[in-house]
């Protein structure tokens, strides 16, 4: 083990459990409890990558979610994860990770060459150059290759994810001292409390500062006790490794729980998800998310070995890692002192430059006692080194203004820490519209404890700018009492004053950018946002170029755009912008805080909506029969419908041809179970139908069926189907497969909102009925074999009649309707008997070679008859008249049915509308593409005026030639009379780069008189 490891008993790593891992192809050892970052630092690994724009060497800066640099690719193959922050990766045995930047090699990075030209690549330089149309794609290619951190996996994910929906009286986000104490107070009072923390262990800041004394107890003991009690409370639930990444309207928290990523690959469970998305709706939310220390901005502040002061401290205290042995720190405040003391006591040499000329005397004394060399009134104006920090250049700075007042020493060091103050973690507070406010004394954007109490959101601790432990814990009591009051619970236990050993804080110095005596931009690069290589000079430049809104500055420089979302950089950026703009920080304001607080795996967001639970697949009761008979399925809405049935040696065309011929010449059978079915009952059911359909229902007698067109208020066809009159006050409606849900909701909407007085109720019975359509000249004979109680004779059971009876021993409704133009019966039975019915009909039809057919054949058969399919032959711009279906519109109905009024508008009533026609190609073997465009002349010199398009097109086995349906401008005038194929108008159909001559004919190609369906 190298000298970076300092074994002390407060460390939260288990020195008895060494762990071996691999980084960039080398093997290392760490300990249980380490993060990848702490283990790498312990092994002396400093440089973890190269920067995005200038290729500068970069190392670890932080110790948690705020880390901007150490983005690593963890594991390989299907298990790989890009861009994990090394500071958040828990070490496990065999962990394999690598750097994500440095190209072609970390030691020689091409971008570092560009770094030398960095003065010619200021913020926004892309916008100013590469303007050649010809060259830009080439430049862009280079830019793209150079961008990006980790790599997406190359294989599909083998892990699973799930969602959990919870409801809580109180959610406490953050398990630091304040979150813990609040949860305890609330839990003791009997509230249902859910406590979330992103980290492996509860304790927050206390884990890094174990020397704190709370009520005379060492911090760790205090922690241990409070956690033990919390765990004993039945209504308190604790989730660690769980990051609340978003807060949405009305107190909804989204949090992601890491269930497995911390385990060695071999120990991960296959039955459990990798991560779980919790959606928690809470009556009350307590945000105890703490604060993150921001560094100061100074020259070369991005060298590896330069961290935030608190990160240096965290590595020492929590992980037993001294990042360096000779440490120089600088601070604007009291917070860095404890860490400086701890480092000195651990044997490091520590120089602490306090930018304040008068530091906190208590801290100063403690520091001296610990052996820290405190330099009041000094600052680090720049760091020295090339691949790692080697020295710090100290300067004296003026007491009141941000300028250099004298020289200082250059101090050699191997680690440098800075503290520019704490930035409260206000992200969640702001996600749903909350705004933090600037506290000039705390030098922080804070979320007030009770600022949103009215909507149940409370804040406590660091997030409120309460940076002292003692006042923060007292605030936890106050907030607890406020929540208890709001929930009407009495508090349990007295609220004693809590004592800590913290000295009273004195104000921090208002400094963000440490001066280097130069005009901004002339000195060494001073980075604000490490991940996006944004310097203080870039911000000044943006302002000079009039990008003055903080949102413009963000967008022009990419400040806060990275995977850390500016956790370290934003406030520094705002402050530097304020200075450049000559405005106050609150006047500059913040950019918008948006989810995710920490990045979330897409897989987690998707959860169970993946694979065969991505979306429902709806099956008919006959599905197993279809599978057994070689069906190829088509998605229609969510349903799976047989598209055609393949027999050995057949292709799709042959199958369709066979199926069609069977239906036209013998008998076919089709599963029509997916059609929407709505049962309507009531005295006014008939009137209701009159209003929602274009045609009239006044005369339809029981035992009869009628086809109807349903329109929207815009007068356009939205659905169609056959409705049967069961009795005077009872109707059975069918809808299209895809339209069923929409139609039912549409009807309910009209009934409930417009015509509640109509006595009618409707219920979906789509799933109740299984429907088999027996189709073809032999259908009657087939049905007769399995149905003895219905008189099937043509004279008694006519076309568009329906009957009740028994088919294959099952109670059935049989409709004599036809979507094929053939003699046909649609048999409906309780869906539990659908399979039985189907098999019985097939058995009965065997002697007639009954042939199951799919949607392809169905489409073809109905097209031969000129029957439309809503959504295929119509597109939301077709009226019944455009479809030449005036017969399905009753303009005389007393009530102005839905859509009627719209017919009268000038365009809807006007000439030149596109109308449904049939088309015949001159060459009968050519099958037009569905979607071919109709044009007037064969030449194609764009732009070409289009008259319409082909909606349906097939090779008709019945006619031995191709046929098509199309909508064509003025089509009805252009077409030849029914039954005659000698079209009057010759047009051209264009698709796939070719034109084909076509005649416009009637859309009814087969049996125009309807003799077959009436047979």
């Amino acid at each position: 083990m190298t000298s970076h490891r300092i074994r002390h008993e407060k460390a939260r790593v288990d020195f008895g459990r060494p762990i071996s891992f691999h980084f960039d192809g080398k093997s290392y050892t760490g300990y249980a409890g380490d993060t990848l970052a702490s283990a790498l630092l312990a092994n002396g690994v400093r440089m973890l990558g190269r920067s995005f724009k200038y290729g500068r060497p970069r190392g670890i800066v932080g110790a948690g979610a705020e880390e901007p640099n150490a983005l690593t690719q963890v594991e390989t193959g299907a298990a790989t994860i890009p861009n994990l922050k090394a500071t958040q990766v828990e070490l496990y045995d065999g962990l394999t990770a690598r750097r994500t930047t440095g190209w072609p090699a970390l030691d020689f990075d091409l971008k570092s060459v560009s770094g030398r030209f960095s003065r010619f690549m200021p913020a926004g330089f892309y916008y100013k150059t590469f303007q050649s149309r010809a060259l830009w794609p080439k430049f862009e290619h280079v830019i793209r290759q150079a961008a990006g951190y980790g790599s997406a996996p190359e294989e599909a994910d083998l892990d699973s994810y799930d969602h959990s929906h919870r409801h809580a009286e109180v959610v406490v986000v953050g398990g630091g001292p304040c979150g813990l104490l609040t949860a305890l107070n609330l839990g003791r009072a009997g509230l249902n409390v859910t406590l979330l923390d992103e980290q492996r262990e509860l304790g927050g800041w206390l884990l890094s500062y174990p020397h704190a004394i709370i009520d005379g107890q060492p911090g760790y003991d205090w922690l241990k006790n409070i956690i033990a009690e919390l765990r004993s409370l039945p209504r308190v639930q604790i989730f660690t490794r769980t990051s609340a990444f978003a807060l949405h309207d009305l107190n909804l928290i989204q949090a992601v729980e890491q269930l497995q990523d911390h385990l060695p690959l071999a120990e991960r469970s296959e039955t459990s998800p990798r991560q779980r998305l919790h959606r928690i709706r809470a009556s009350h939310i307590v945000l105890a998310t703490g604060a993150i220390e921001r560094p100061l901005v100074f020259g070369n502040n991005d060298l590896p070995g330069i961290l935030t002061a608190s990160a240096l401290t965290t590595y020492l205290n929590r992980y037993g890692v001294a990042v360096g042995r000779r440490v120089v720190m600088q601070t604007s405040n009291d917070f860095a002192y404890q860490g400086a003391c701890d480092l000195a006591r651990a044997g490091c040499s520590v120089v602490l430059a306090d930018t304040r000329t008068r530091p906190n005397t208590v801290w100063e004394q403690r520091a001296h006692a610990a052996g820290v060399d405190v330099r009041p009134g000094y600052a680090i104006s720049g760091a020295l080194g090339s691949r790692a920090v080697k020295a710090a250049k100290l300067v004296k700075i003026s007491a009141d203004q941000n300028s250099i007042s004298g020289d200082g020493p250059t101090i050699e060091c191997d680690a440098l820490g800075s503290s520019g103050g704490l930035s409260p973690t206000v992200h969640l507070y702001c996600h749903d519209g909350g705004r933090p406010h600037w506290d000039e004394e705390k030098l922080a954007f804070v979320a007030p404890a009770m600022g949103r109490a009215a909507t149940g959101i409370y804040c406590v601790g660091g997030i409120t700018g309460t940076f002292g432990l003692q006042p923060a814990l007292m605030q936890a009591h106050e907030v607890s009492d406020a929540v208890l009051a709001a929930t009407g619970k009495a508090s349990v236990g007295e609220r004693r004053s809590i004592e800590t050993d913290e000295p009273n804080a004195i104000p921090a110095r208002r400094i963000f950018r440490v001066p280097d005596g130069k005009v901004e931009g002339h000195g060494k690069k001073a980075f604000v946002d490490f991940q996006n290589d944004v310097t203080a000079a870039d911000i000044h430049l943006a302002v000079r170029e009039n990008y003055r809104s903080i949102e413009h500055i963000k967008r022009y420089t990419a400040l806060g755009f990275g995977t850390d979302q500016g956790k370290l950089s934003n406030v520094n950026g705002f402050a530097i912008a304020a200075e450049a703009l000559g405005k106050s920080i609150p006047d500059v304001g913040t950019t918008t805080y948006r989810p995710a607080y920490s990045p979330v795996t897409f897989g987690t967001l998707a959860g169970p909506h993946e694979g065969d639970t991505f979306e429902p697949k709806r099956y008919t009761p006959m599905h197993a029969s279809h599978v057994a008979r070689g069906a190829v399925f088509e998605n229609v809405g969510q349903w799976l419908r047989p598209q055609y049935f393949l027999k050995a040696g057949e292709d799709q065309d042959a199958a369709i041809r066979r199926e069609c011929i069977a239906a036209r010449r013998g008998v076919g059978i089709m599963d029509a179970s997916t059609l929407g079915k709505i049962d309507l009952q009531g005295k006014d059911a008939r009137e209701f139908l009159n209003r929602v359909y274009a045609n009239s229902w006044t005369q339809l007698a029981p035992g009869k069926c009628r086809y109807g067109l349903m329109l929207d208020e815009n007068g356009m066809v939205m659905d169609d189907g056959v409705t049967a009159c069961i009795s005077d006050e009872h109707f059975a409606m069918t809808t299209t497969t895809g339209g069923a849900a929409r139609v039912l909701s549409w009807l309910e909407n009209w009934h409930q909102t417009e015509w509640p007085d109509l006595d009618v109720y409707m219920t979906s019975v789509t799933d109740h009925w299984a429907t088999a359509a027996v189709v073809g000249p032999k259908s009657r004979e087939v049905l007769a074999k399995v149905c003895s109680d219905i008189d099937l004779s043509p004279s008694s059971f006519k076309f568009m009649d329906w009957r009740e009876g028994t088919v294959a021993g099952v109670a059935a409704r049989v409709f004599r309707i036809s979507f094929s133009g053939e003699l046909a019966f649609e048999v409906n039975v309780d869906a539990n008997y659908g399979y039985h019915l189907w098999e019985a009909l097939l058995a009965a039809g065997a002697e007639f070679d009954i042939t199951p057919y799919g949607t392809d054949a169905m489409h073809l058969l109905r097209a031969e008859k000129g029957f439309i399919i809503v959504g295929q032959d119509t597109d939301g711009s077709m009226t019944p008249f455009d479809l030449d279906m005036a017969w399905a519109v009753s303009m005389k109905k007393p009530f102005s049915f839905i859509g009627k009024r719209s017919f009268a508008r000038s365009d809807t009533a006007g000439p030149n509308r596109k109308q449904l026609v049939g088309l015949l190609t001159e060459d009968p073997s050519i099958v037009l593409a569905e979607g071919a465009q109709i044009i007037e002349a064969p030449e194609v010199n764009p732009p070409v005026a289009m008259l319409g398009h082909v909606t349906s097109s097939y090779f008709s086995p019945e006619l031995g030639r191709s046929i098509a349906l199309a909508v064509v401008r003025d089509g009805i005038k252009r077409r030849s009379p029914e039954g005659q194929n000698a079209g009057r108008d010759r047009l051209f159909a264009y698709f796939g780069g070719q034109t084909h001559r076509v005649q416009v004919v009637s859309p009814v190609f087969v049996d125009p008189k309807g003799e077959r369906q009436n047979a």
Partner: protein
């Protein structure tokens, strides 16, 4: 116009510590009166001002913006630019824009990073494929580049796409427009602002229009948070806030303002070099030059002006993206956001005169107006300057809602037997 931005200027200014750069645009104070006031400094509003100045010689123009310029939907869109629409009217309008895009960088002397990396619209059902065929043929006849690709070809071009027959909605094919692509959204606003400013257009940020002065059916001027201003003509280009402005003029528009959300992944090495959209699976994705996947889907169903939406929409979008690209399952979402989109009943924009003389509206671009930015500004400038629509936007007037001449770009209603 002087070309201030070049390699040369970067070099010379770089030598001088980048101190010599001029403001990209001039921030102006509101004057008491203008010839034309444009309300809304989004891409469309700024482009309108630019073309008014450049092509119609109008110089006395203000663009008034309640927030920061380019901060509306322009700041938050997923930057897809294409022109392969269905109906002639829409196709011609978007194609007009696409042609302008192709030269925009040079014209504005500002690299808007227009990247013609192609757009695939996937088809997952037979009806999708019919619609694709129909649209592509129409595009070709309208002189727009478009192709129909089968599933195998789609897979060849986008190897990471899931084209398995076992997918819930297998990819059956796609339409492809090679000239389509993406652009850098912010740069478009800044480029137009800079170019308009050079023509003397006043850009007034942080100034909200709060009322309209209308006398005898004629617009006289506006009330704003920075005082009143007189104007001969006012063009409102306020996207999601159009109804709010219309109300000030006593008008109702056929618009609902819905949240539309998007999100980006963390930045990654290049894996996706084109744009993939799927209506059936409900999501689309591209990868930006910085390396993040830029992802979006459909609108939230309720109306809202909050610029944020509901998380289940994002969850479903992530599911759709994984369905299309299984390898993205372990990729992480970095940031999500929302815009306020101005949807119309026919999914087509409104570029129109109104019954108030001197008042014009350009709105209703809904989920897809970024691609139209230069074209929209161009024809709207014409409409305002001539008090008559440009031939390309005549069909997009408000009267279509009374005559019934809707241009339904929702695509064919996806129902079938």
């Amino acid at each position: 116009m002087k070309k201030d931005y070049s390699i040369w200027s970067l070099f010379t200014k770089g030598l001088n510590y980048n101190e010599g750069w001029d403001p990209a645009w001039r921030s102006a104070e509101l004057k008491p009166s203008y010839n034309v006031v444009i309300v809304g400094a989004g891409g469309h509003g700024l482009a309108t001002a630019y073309y008014l100045a450049k092509e119609h010689g109008v110089r006395d123009i203000a663009v008034i913006e309640k927030g920061y310029l380019g901060g509306g939907n322009t700041a938050r869109n997923t930057t897809i630019v294409r022109s392969n629409y269905l109906w002639d009217e829409a196709t011609m309008l978007y194609e007009h824009a696409l042609k302008l895009w192709e030269h925009l960088t040079e014209e504005l002397n500002f690299n808007v990073m227009f990247s013609q990396r192609g757009v695939f619209n996937l088809g997952h059902t037979l009806q999708d494929m019919r619609d694709i065929e129909r649209r592509v043929n129409a595009n070709v006849l309208n002189g727009v580049d478009a192709q129909v690709l089968d599933a195998a070809e789609v897979k060849r071009r986008i190897p990471i796409l899931n084209t398995s027959r076992n997918a819930r909605y297998p990819v059956l094919g796609a339409s492809y427009q090679p000239r389509a692509g993406v652009a850098r959204h912010d740069a478009v606003a800044w480029g137009f602002a800079r170019a308009a400013s050079k023509y003397g257009v006043d850009i007034v940020e942080n100034c909200e229009v709060t009322g309209m002065d209308i006398v005898n059916g004629r617009l006289q001027g506006l009330q704003t948070s920075r005082g009143s201003v007189r104007a001969d003509r006012v063009g409102c280009v306020a996207s999601g806030h159009s109804s709010v402005l219309a109300k000030m003029a006593g008008i109702r528009l056929p618009i609902e303002s819905h949240p539309l959300q998007a999100f980006v992944s963390e930045s990654m090495k290049p894996v996706l070099d084109t744009v993939v959209m799927s209506n059936a699976v409900h999501g689309y994705a591209s990868q930006s030059d910085k390396g993040e996947l830029v992802i979006g889907a459909g609108i939230d169903h309720y109306t809202s002006y909050t610029q944020r939406g509901s998380p289940h929409i994002i969850e479903h979008t992530a599911a759709a993206i994984i369905e299309l690209f299984p390898i993205f399952s372990r990729v992480r979402m970095n940031r999500q956001w929302g815009g306020i989109v101005d949807t119309t009943p026919d999914a087509c924009p409104i570029i129109s005169k109104t019954k108030v003389k001197g008042l014009y509206f350009n709105c209703g671009w809904g989920t897809g107006g970024f691609k139209a930015t230069p074209g929209s500004g161009n024809v709207f400038a014409h409409t305002i300057a001539n008090d008559e629509p440009h031939p390309l936007n005549k069909a997009f007037s408000l009267d279509r809602f009374s005559t019934g001449h809707l241009i339904d770009e929702h695509g064919a209603a996806a129902v079938a037997h």
